[in-house]
Subunit: 252 residues, 4 copies
């Protein structure tokens, strides 16, 4: 253990609470909204307007996707133990993993590699598209089982970031890659919301390894909404019975 | 199973995503911030200014409390498996339970009972304070091990709600109860942040059984900040070694 | 903090590992089976034959119940992130809560109260049955939606405990209560497996507050089996699609 | 979705419960112990004596390791919400991840590769050891921060498997690799318990992708023991206070 670790997040005294270098009561409550507050806590400074607008757009986009595996897990656990609402949310959040939202991380890494290629961006994008194609691997951030030909969230998110005046390098890389993905596939494949989010979060300097954290915060709100609906109009037993029928027993 | 359950939260079509009765891309992204978005998703309508301000204040207040059991659990799990950031957050959220934040629920139920007493509010508050005192039970929403004589968050939160013009009945009940708690104890006991939050969320119509959901959303942001710090400056091994020393083995 | 806490569970030295007061390598590996090992770790001594047989019976009984909310949660989370098998199990375990297996706790408390009534056991059972009936509350440990007239696990579990020569007081209390439950209802209501388990675990001195722990250990094995099946023959997408159809969207 | 998925794990009728192709009450309760039961449920057949002995040895070995990150997470969550014991266990299980127990998976893959090399096993082991050495990567299943020169569990586990007459190919591969790891390092590096477990589970045909499942079952018992200790002699607040001191706040 080389250096003694410290935390810069929070400190309590008898009569004050400090969140990073600000006084919670004097500087934050009533002065910043939740998005500014969480950005400040995670990244260490109050966001610019562009940063706040991009983060709000991402959080609003990822919040809710219907009766997904995540929402189903939440409803199963909440219905089994309504005394522990937090366990219901926790169960659903665990499904914010590699197979769905988690693809924003390799997507972001790819975009960073293309930006690093500088003037060779388009060549690098062509090689990248060809490599994935040859390996028969789906390109992270591309494709959607339902939204064809195009994911409606993508142009909105990219336009919002551009309107806010972000630098634009990662968005440019995404567009370069999109052209090459289409060429390699011989058909149009949509940039999906995850790809667009990887690009615009990269524009405001959010590193790939913490991107999933924003998805988790956003989804926690969606899962609380599922619990609220379960409180008012429970679906848990219907889901249970339906699944029992849909996956019947077969004797070994 | 009487009626077939439905969900009103989200619907996908080929070219549109509906969140409740709004179009995600047309009506929400770039038009509402995260607080408005999550309020809309959970409660079914866009919040008024007062509702949004109260919810923002609550979310900012509950976000971060330092190296709490919740944050420790998150850091232990994240450090053991950084490939699953979401599991780290989920582990910490499970500690948003009865012993800490969860006290806002009985606090809110008590305030509702006092409001229901109408003109008899002060009498009801006196009986309530005396009953808890006689049973040697702590009054939920009162007392703090560190913030003495007063929790600095409480006046700020109550003032913010009053400035925004909430009805004020539950805040009045909280103040009535506070006077009786002090009288029964023979000394001043602070209204803590949980008590203040129970009151102001009740003012805007948030029901006790979903209050903990807002705490969970808020804390998810705090736990992502702990993970961010763990990524940059890991404390997990120090915590582990410190705990091994602090809780030594003793042979049966 | 009055006394410095200690742990008696485990200690490592350079060349030995102690689990409680035994040497893991010399005394436990290859000498005790898992049931003996976990009983020793939790309760502090190697079980008698009767204790081991009862615990094995309970662990085998609770292990698996088909496509329950617990198993569904596990499959949803595992399918969303197969890189974190442990999160899949954790999600499902969270559903081992108040609504299902957790009823063994109030059942055990009731049986203990009846045993404490001594010679007045039958009278106490009658009052208990009448009180639940009057309050229209289901008696914990009784009733089953499917196994009618009788849960086939109950006679087996009770007979096994009796064959092993347990004292029999809690089993006697369960039978006394069963007669009164039937009388109060005017029809036969089965003692379910949870009621039988509450009785036989009480017979061997397992306290109510840790009973759920045995259920959690048992279910962890069942959930690993669901993950194994998901690896070989995935059902996650079918479940997802089925649930989306079963709980349709309705516009607010 | 090509074929309709099925489950072979469990089926209920009015008067019987089938676990796979056996009757729970007639064939399993009282006839198999927990280890046989869980093996049967996960792998589809009753284990041979050798399989049962190896699985028992693994489950007993991995059960408990003291105040680890896993146990700390469990104690933090349990102490914050004792009404949800299962959430405490779930939190700790999430730490059974890549950094600790999870290394048995790459260890097992390596051993399988060496077995597949047939007569070229020793050459393959030499290349493998040199590659890890050149990449400065630790060899999974080797090394221990405390148990030097040798992990005491390893010879016991290997001897137990050999006594039970397992084929021995993976154990042979482990020994071949050990010699090459020592040669490449220029000093002796212990085979740790995880490496030994990877070998002996491979001997009885357990595939790498489900090995972690056995670790999760085993650890669930250990975490229940930590909760039992927390119920009798709580350490949570001491841990909390200790960590707050060990990781002090520093202003940004």
């Amino acid at each position: 253990m080389s250096a003694k670790p410290e935390t810069r997040l929070c400190h309590y005294t008898n009569d004050a609470i400090h969140v990073r270098d600000k006084n919670l009561v004097e500087d934050l409550i009533g002065k910043v909204d939740f998005t500014e507050g969480l950005y400040f806590l995670i990244f260490g400074r109050i966001p610019t307007r562009a940063e706040r607008r991009v983060v709000d757009a991402v959080l609003v986009t990822l919040m809710e996707h219907g009766m997904t595996p995540s929402a189903i897990a939440t409803r199963m656990v909440y219905g089994s133990g309504p005394e522990a609402l937090q366990a219901g949310v926790a169960a659903g959040l665990m499904a914010v993993a590699s197979q769905f939202v988690g693809t924003m991380e390799p997507a972001a890494h790819n975009l960073r590699a293309l930006v690093a290629a500088g003037d060779g961006m388009q060549d690098a994008a062509r090689r990248m598209a060809d490599e994935y194609r040859a390996a028969k691997k789906p390109m992270p951030g591309f494709g959607h089982h339902l939204h064809k030909p195009d994911d409606p969230r993508t142009p909105k998110l990219l336009a919002l970031a551009e309107t806010e005046g972000v630098p634009g390098k990662h968005v440019k890389a995404l567009r370069a890659l999109s052209a090459e993905v289409d060429r390699a596939a011989g058909r149009h494949i949509t940039i999906n919301a995850t790809g667009a989010i990887a690009a615009i979060l990269s524009e405001i300097g959010v590193e790939p390894e913490i991107m999933r954290g924003l998805a988790v915060i956003s989804r926690s709100a969606g899962l609380v909404a599922h619990i609220r609906e379960e409180q008012k109009s429970p679906a848990m037993r219907t889901i249970w019975e339906t699944v029992e029928e849909a996956v019947p027993y077969r004797r070994d």
